[in-house]
């Protein structure tokens, strides 16, 4: 009887020891019993354990910065580079609501600031690059200021012009500072934070995170473990400014572009795949199923990288089709969007490599090619072949055809 009890007591221990030592042995598999919720909702003791308010703040900040450019162009007021710099740094109460002003969050210190690329210098990153990227965004503020002084944009002249029904600001080289900022920051901040920071094992598993998560040691005063929160912060950089309680639903930044890519039958599983991977990964963390978590990380990294790739090709091709409109000016908005999405590719993270799909040098070469003509984009006669070459280069890397991305059907 006593032995029987002892044996019974030893059995789970034996099982646990075999599974815990089986990491490098694929023949035995640990089984977990947990369900993946239908929406990204997780609770502990009847209180939500999901929190990404810091991410929401940053998304809203970028949104408001984008609107500042727009208002300036529409109303013909100066886009003050000082104001934009202060918004970027969140200083001097430049945002409309006090919530953002007092959030303690800013966009600038999270620009090119991921642990993997800009602390551990994986993927070719460095602090010098971080500084230059932040400077590049500051330059967009100067460009917008210059373009908003009343001139009409033309070859080599910064200014505004009416593009369809929207008045927009353009730098002397034809690039739209607003789009370089918005799409560029989606890469340098949001994408970088998601795939190279919060979904990095160096972040998720840093310090005692894994042991704490397994033991469900909660962050002081919170209802989540550090690892759960880290995962939520990745989620928040994609979906953090969405609002599904209003009609029509609001989707911002990556969430919005995931939808736009997904609207094309060639890519119509993308939205579901990313959404599911986030839910699965979060549930896996709750259940201490780290292998499942890691598999979801790879899915998210690969699928999310498709978004700037597909959208870059889409906009380059859209721009190409409009080169004959208004001496090319009709194309520049689309090309500026494409330019920003190409910038974003530098911050992707190809699963298993801890490096981007395109190196910084490759991305820089594509960007340089786009503006290599006399007066940049205004050199429309030479632009067509460049747009095709870059489109093909991106499509080939990600395994789709240019035509698939160019037409949403």
């Amino acid at each position: 009887m006593k032995f029987k009890n002892l044996l019974l007591a030893a059995m789970p221990f034996l099982f646990a020891s075999i599974t815990s030592c089986s990491n490098d042995d694929s023949t035995t598999e640990e089984t977990f019993n947990y369900t993946v919720p239908a929406t990204y909702a997780f609770e502990r003791n009847a209180v939500t354990s999901v929190d990404y308010s810091g991410q929401t703040s940053r998304l809203l900040m970028l949104d408001e910065m984008g609107n500042y450019f727009k208002t300036s162009a529409t109303n013909g007021t100066v886009a003050d580079d000082v104001v934009l710099s202060e918004m970027y740094l969140n200083t001097n109460n430049r945002f409309v609501g006090t919530d953002l002003n007092t959030s303690g969050k800013q966009l600038k210190d999270k620009t090119a600031a991921s642990k993997d690329y800009f602390t551990l210098y994986l993927g070719g990153g460095s602090t010098a690059e971080q500084v230059s990227v932040r400077d590049l965004f500051e330059t967009q503020f100067d460009n917008a200021d210059l373009a908003s002084q009343g001139a009409t944009a033309s070859a080599g002249v910064a200014g505004a012009y009416l593009d369809g029904t929207s008045k927009r600001l353009f730098a002397a080289n034809g690039l739209e500072p607003q789009q370089v900022l918005l799409k560029g920051m989606m890469g340098a901040c949001f994408m970088d934070q998601v795939v190279n920071n919060y979904l990095s094992l160096n972040k998720l598993d840093e310090s005692t995170n894994r042991a704490d998560n397994t033991a469900k040691v909660l962050v002081a005063g919170k209802s989540y473990t550090t690892m759960e929160h880290t995962w939520d912060e990745a989620y928040g950089y994609i979906y953090g400014a969405d609002n599904l309680t209003v009609t029509p639903n609001v989707f911002k930044f990556w969430s919005s572009y995931i939808n736009q890519v997904n609207a094309d039958t060639d890519f119509n599983t993308l939205k579901g795949d990313i959404d599911l991977a986030f839910r699965k990964g979060r549930a896996a963390i709750v259940a201490n199923d780290y292998a499942a978590r890691d598999a979801q990380i790879d899915i998210i990294k690969a699928k999310l990288a498709m978004v700037p790739a597909v959208r870059a090709v889409f906009y380059l091709q859209e721009g190409k089709g409009k080169l004959a409109t208004d001496n090319g000016a009709g194309a520049f908005h689309a090309l500026s969007e494409g330019y920003g999405f190409i910038m974003s590719l530098r911050y992707t993270n190809k699963p298993g490599t801890n490096s981007p799909y395109f190196t910084k040098a490759e991305v820089d070469a594509m960007l340089a090619s786009l503006t290599s003509g006399t007066n940049g984009l205004w050199d429309i006669d030479t632009l067509g072949p460049k747009l095709d070459a870059i489109s093909t280069q991106i499509a080939a890397k990600f395994g789709f055809k240019v035509i698939q991305a160019a037409t949403v059907d």
Binding site: F3, K4, L6, L7, A10, M11, F13, L14, S17, I18, S20, C21, S22, N23, D24, D25, G54, L89, K105, Q106, K108, D109, K115, T119, L120, Y121, S126, T127, A128, V131, R134, D135, S207, E233
Partner: protein
């Protein structure tokens, strides 16, 4: 039968767990006692003894200046201040035992110094330099202000100690700050020589509080926080979204010694890594030989070589810097960024690769916030 099963189950556990984990809890058979002996006897204690001697000279020269405030005597204090400041760089990482207890580092080198607080202490003539709140009003940065920063030229600085209405208080403060450095040094040297050395060497295990773990953590932390962040990162605006702080460089009032202090501290760090005896060409056991013992490699190269090569790269970049970092920041901050990058690369090699190879856990956290 059941008994046999029970025993078998434990055998299974042992086998299952030993196959993919070659390191036993007893460690890696590396002789930590020899390592700790070299660190204590040939590196740490001699570095402190040297620092103590330099602090003594500083106190003597400060006393001479105070009793006879001339420009010549001021210049002598300056020289001994620089020598002591450089000697300090060699002990800055050993925040152990008595040094940790008395906060020697914070008391010796908190910068930027609090000039308003210093002036307030001087005018009141009443202060207790052992208080935590006084750490930014003493040490080398406070002396920097007192002997380099009070006036625009030597004559006007001497005036504070000769003709100023409050000259007596200025004299008293200079003496007090210099003496504090010396008494702190004395306390640490005494501690090492009266028992701490033996307990340090005897604490040769692999636990979080073992001497090897603690000292190795201090080495990495010094490189990351004191050298990379303090000397370069903060003034160059790396932690303030590009807003630069040229007034936050080390040795701001003397102004032309930031680079020298940086290079000395990097040298101290590298020497420790290599187990090099203080002020000798001999090298003994150190992190380098420990890594080599473990055959630690990175990208097909010995990790110890990778780290030493990076130290060489750090000196190369540092050599492009102006002697005055505040000037460098104002004229071309990108060179400071490059110096930061070079240092950070070695933080990565040591904090990540080296600690992983040594199976030592980092015992301090980076509060990077959300």
């Amino acid at each position: 039968m059941k008994k046999i099963l029970f025993i078998l189950s434990f055998i299974a556990i042992v086998i299952a767990c030993s196959s993919n984990d070659s390191s036993s809890s007893d460690g890696d058979n590396y002789d930590r006692t020899v390592l700790l002996t070299n660190w204590a006897d040939n590196i740490i204690i001699p570095s402190y003894v040297n620092y103590q001697a330099k602090a003594q000279i500083l106190v003597s020269d400060a006393n001479t200046f105070v009793s006879n405030p001339t420009e010549v005597n001021l210049q002598t204090v300056r020289t001994s201040w620089i020598e002591a400041y450089k000697a300090y760089q060699y002990i800055a990482m050993y925040n152990l035992g008595k040094a940790e207890e008395i906060n020697l580092n914070a008391a010796s080198n908190t910068y930027p110094t609090n000039t308003i607080g210093i002036e307030s202490n001087i005018s009141s003539g009443s202060y207790d330099l052992s208080l935590l709140s006084q750490f930014d009003k003493q040490g080398f940065p406070a002396l920097d202000y007192l002997i380099n920063g009070l006036g625009a030229d030597d004559a006007s600085i001497v005036g504070f100690y000769a003709t100023n209405a409050n000259a007596a208080n200025y004299k008293q403060y200079l003496t007090a700050v210099a003496s504090k450095l010396k008494t702190n040094a004395d306390a640490v040297v005494t501690d090492w020589n009266s028992g701490f050395r033996n307990s340090y060497v005897a604490n040769n295990g692999t636990s979080v509080s073992s001497s090897v773990n603690k000292t190795t953590n201090l080495f990495v932390k010094n490189l990351e926080k004191d050298i990379r962040t303090g000397k370069i990162g903060i003034p160059a605006g790396i932690f303030s979204s590009g807003v630069v702080y040229p007034e936050k460089v080390e040795g701001y009032y003397k102004n032309d010694i930031s680079k020298e202090l940086l290079n000395v501290s990097v040298k101290a760090s590298q020497d420790f890594f290599n187990g090099k005896h203080f002020n000798h060409t001999t090298t003994g056991e150190g992190l380098k030989s420990y890594l080599d013992f473990l055959n630690a490699v990175k990208n097909g190269q010995k990790l110890s070589d990778v780290i030493n090569n990076q130290f060489a790269a750090i000196y190369d970049v540092n050599n492009t810097l102006n002697n005055s970092f505040s000037q460098q920041i104002s004229t071309d901050n990108s060179k400071m960024i490059a110096a930061y990058d070079a240092l950070q690369q070695n933080v990565i090699y040591t904090k990540l690769d080296m600690m992983q190879a040594l199976k030592i856990t980092i015992d301090y956290v980076d509060g990077d916030g959300d």
